[in-house]
């Protein structure tokens, strides 16, 4: 099998990479597990990011910086603070090992379909995305909230090369949970929850495009998050949480599941994950 490519380049600097990406029909190539399978018909040139030194995980002050070319297995193996468990759990749930060895964090948040798993976990952790834009005249660094990045990708408005994502290092706990039809399917719905000094954050995601072509983008469940800041006493938080989660989550249906099913499933996953995290962390958000 072949891709109909005219050029393959492996630039050594970001300025060169951005200049090469400005050519018509050029695309950034990370692991290639998406681009090499679904490369669009106008793809003529790939600009391989492997020589730009974008892989690796490091502590940077109050943040953990994850290089865009870090593979999902690298994320699982990284010595992350215990509070960032959701990231390793989401990365380890991705397909098979050979795919996890190649799929990168940057690639995962730069493709226009099925942004679940690591993307959901990053949204649940309120990640920031670091981009390089510009060209031969200079490289500019831009920071974006993960939700904006995912939205830009889904709407075709994304630009620049993702160089890294940053997540807060002071998250007290986090977790990730997905439900899928079988072990080899993408998640029908997935959920990430985190708790830290800025409160509890819940994100839910799922797979595929809805009937209207809208993407089931990971969504921040703001009302559910607010409810957990002041939860009703005893066990009644579960019913209350289900009610707000069902009310606020989008109902995107696709070839895998109906919209109503996905929304109900996501609400159930939210409750199960919050309960498991609270039980594991002494009941305190």
């Amino acid at each position: 099998m072949y891709l109909d490519l005219q050029t393959y380049t492996r630039p050594a600097t970001m300025a060169e990479a951005l200049a090469q990406l400005a050519a018509p029909g050029a695309a950034a190539l990370a692991g290639g597990t998406h681009l090499n399978v679904h490369g669009h018909e106008h793809l003529r040139a790939v600009v391989d990011l492997q020589a730009l030194g974008l892989a690796g995980v490091a502590r940077e002050g109050a943040k953990v910086r994850i290089g865009a070319m870090t593979a999902l297995t690298g994320l699982v193996a990284a010595d992350l603070p215990a509070g960032l468990a959701a990231l390793g759990q989401a990365a380890d749930a991705e397909k098979n090992r050979a795919v996890r060895n190649r799929s990168t964090v940057g690639g995962r948040i730069s493709r226009d379909r099925s942004n679940g798993r690591v993307a959901t976990a990053l949204l649940g952790l309120e990640a920031e995305v670091e981009l390089a834009t510009g060209g031969p005249d200079g490289v500019t660094r831009v920071d974006l909230h993960i939700a904006s990045r995912l939205h830009d990708v889904a709407t075709g408005a994304a630009h620049g090369v993702v160089t890294a994502v940053r997540v807060p290092a002071d998250v007290r706990w986090s977790g990730y949970l997905a439900s899928q039809l079988s072990a080899v399917d993408a998640p029908s719905a997935d959920v990430a929850v985190s708790a830290g000094p800025r409160g509890v954050h819940i994100a839910t995601g799922g797979h595929g495009r809805g009937a209207a072509g809208t993407l089931a983008l990971p969504t921040t469940a703001a009302a559910a998050t607010a409810l957990l800041a002041n939860p009703p006493a005893g066990d009644s938080w579960r019913a209350a949480l289900r009610e707000v989660a069902v009310a606020e989550l989008p109902a995107h249906g696709d070839a895998l599941v109906s919209g109503d099913y996905r929304r109900d499933l996501a609400a159930t996953l939210v409750i199960r994950l919050v309960a498991a995290c609270l039980a594991a962390h002494g009941g305190a958000a």
Binding site: L5, Y8, N36, V99, R102
Partner: protein
């Protein structure tokens, strides 16, 4: 055409290839036909090889991406004249029927044992996930991983 330079099964190679050629094709067209063409979409594991010691599906990897790296195919692990203990374990455990999935399974087992000399049954399942076999029902493949791990440990203990 671009130039592909890499180490393949310990041997430096320099081949001219089309920019858009996948690694499976490059390897097979140079005689390394143990790397199988299956789904060609990253789903079945038949085309697995080691890239710098890490398992990858060569059907979703441009050969150009692998240029400059170290590649090991099933032929570099062992062959009929000098089989690797993992290959012997697959035969002895009855994990080989038609054999189409076997090179990929052996490559995956090799990568697993390099990281984890004493895998549990669950570790083996996790490592072989993504390797589809239409013949064996998988139980014997998992048995083969256990047998390979036992034999490797025994060989090391006895050395």
């Amino acid at each position: 055409m671009i130039q592909f330079e890499a180490t393949v099964n310990g041997r430096p190679v320099r081949w001219d290839i089309p920019a858009g050629e996948f690694l499976t094709e490059t390897l097979r067209s140079h005689g390394l036909i143990g790397t199988k063409r299956g789904c060609e979409s990253g789903d079945c594991g038949a085309c697995a090889v080691l890239l710098d010691g890490v398992e990858v599906n060569s059907c979703v990897l441009l050969a150009a991406q692998a240029s400059g790296h170290d590649i090991v195919t099933i032929e570099g692990i062992g062959d009929a004249r000098a089989p690797h203990p993992i290959q012997e374990a697959f035969v002895d455990a009855g994990a080989v029927q038609c054999g189409f999935c076997t090179p990929g399974m052996v490559v995956a087992t090799h990568a697993l044992l390099a990281d984890n000399a004493a895998p549990t049954r669950d570790d083996a399942r996790h490592a072989l996930a993504g390797h589809l076999c239409r013949c064996t029902g998988y139980v014997k493949c998992l048995d083969a991983v256990e047998l390979a791990a036992e034999r490797t440990a025994a060989a090391k203990g006895g050395a």
